[in-house]
Symmetry: D3
Subunit: 140 residues, 6 copies
């Protein structure tokens, strides 16, 4: 009995998009308002999908309290009220785009959860913009 | 032209998680607040996904009024305002976890709908916790 | 500068509506499915509105972290995963209708917050049904 | 690094469901209230999923501003405040069911976006009814 | 113990905004896309607020099942899947703007509910646009 | 016929809470994570309420397209993707708390709209935290 559970979480952060190998003009042309040198910010909404086999003794795939605490410790506390560019070492040399951010969160969670599970994350930067990693045509 | 239609429904129920083969201590350790002997409850939100070929004469995969009525008769009326442990025979010997509940709803709907359709359900126990059956990496 | 801040919270509980001074027939006629002897349950959504004067040194009406913690300690922990009829002394002789429940939450919060504040609560029993106390034409 | 980005959009339109090769009785029997000769209408919510490889120089799969503008020009401006039956040539001989509408929007967007991308759309006709094209068991 | 209960409902309809005493140019200038001669449509979301005294025997202001049925019979069935201009007599000589529509729904409900209650309605024409009647500074 | 219309808008920004007349310890004690020197950020959701008399010729209180454009020009374009502390002159000597921010937006809109209208704003800093100005017990 293979199943997927999902858990949502929320945090907020500041960031800017800026590639130091680009000229200022190219950064402005490509990243527009997201290139603001003084940073801007978002409330990020996260949905984590964990797939695997249900434990028949507990009826659980994973105790959602455990999943909630792992997300809280390794994602919410790491990123909440932070400046992604300045406060998060992983973004020292990596653009904090939603794409790269979703993959980073996926990789953090995959390293903390039982490797028998398959993990997918959906990260909303705004209520209308989101990123899913791995891609929906790769999750199998 | 293969397509998926989805329909959402809502109902509420009481339940508790308790495995009679476990000691009281183990039930408390594993299920925590969900083990409360007096029950607790939820508003369940359900999204049913039905995949198949569109009928070119009607433009429909399935008349959503028909799908709505099947969900109402076989899911909402069966579970709404019920105690899952005491009022639902299928849970007499099965833990009413969201995982098992999602699979039960899937199996009920699959037995009522044209077997040519492929069915998936997403069941939210709270706005932040949900289960999808079959797993998102198995729906193909 | 008088302002209102609002904070949302979430918890779930089981309950039933039953007036012991009514006959079984009258209870069934008035409360319908809500009279189920085995209880049913809900995810309750709560929005708490606090009105008063802004502190110009902090820019705050009240530190929302303080408000969040008061709601968590005195509302969420008191009611979450509980059976309102059996686990909550205030409902020993009071019908746990959403109306009475909203007033109880209002009165608990009013007793824990600075009396200079005016408090209003909105309590959703389902996404479509809610109660506001005090009434919207009385909050002044 | 294959990823999916999603973007939501909103528009509204009038339509009716009516197959001219059916008798009036059959149209009424199959389409019910949706057959009203004077039309009815909806707020349509659209979520567009685009899958492909992330550009490591920008951290983007696709500039969401570009995706937003393509959806605005080719979907929102084409359908918003329109009568699907009378104002949209593609529906002159095609039933404007949500199924056919979702496929039309998919095909429009696929023709405007880089063919290296894989496209999926989810179109809500009401908050409870939606269609996904291609089917969730075909997106691979 | 004065309290407010609220109940949400949903329906959809087509309409156009057109004042026959205006020239075509003036209609176009004032109503823009909403003047489309072929109609457009919306999913309307409605929240009905009823204020009054709680009945201590039932714990209810009003049985929400009764309120739900009154809204269903006198609002949803009257307007759902209708063309407001052509199918609703009250709009024969009245512009079906959201403002006039909210007042009409208020007046219908006020005529069906106990006159001891005070009624307010909020009507969303889109997720971002709504009308409240009576005005929020008049409900007292 | 006095009525209220509401319009929702969305933008995002970075900010920090820091009172330069406080010691670092006091700033940390009062503002906690919101005091991060590198800033953090939010998606702000705004609902603007405008109350007044309906124009019987148009059925409108105010053309919502006009209201939308005023909000876009004077609120969204002024604050979107900005650092409130560094990019917004009004916050040079004013704490950018949600309370002060809501009042600023109210005052901007009141200065751009017909003074016959009464204005109220609700500003969400996160999905669970919001501020309403003027206070709900003052709007009359």
């Amino acid at each position: 009995m293979r199943i997927t559970v999902s858990r949502r979480a929320h945090f907020n952060a500041a960031h800017r998009l800026h590639n130091p190998t680009f000229s200022d003009e190219k950064n402005e042309a490509i990243f527009g308002k997201c290139n603001n040198a003084n940073y801007h910010g978002h409330n990020y909404e996260l949905e984590v999908f964990v797939s695997g086999e249900v434990n028949q003794e507990t009826g659980y795939l994973i105790d959602l309290k455990v999943l909630k605490d792992i997300i809280k410790e390794h994602v919410e506390e790491k990123f909440d009220h932070k400046n992604l560019n300045l406060d998060v070492p992983e973004f020292a040399n990596l653009l904090p785009s939603t794409e790269n951010f979703a993959k980073l969160i996926h990789d953090i969670l995959a390293s903390k959860l039982d490797p028998a599970f398959s993990i997918q994350v959906k990260l909303w930067e705004t209520p209308r913009n989101a990123v899913i990693y791995p891609a929906i045509d790769q999750i199998r």
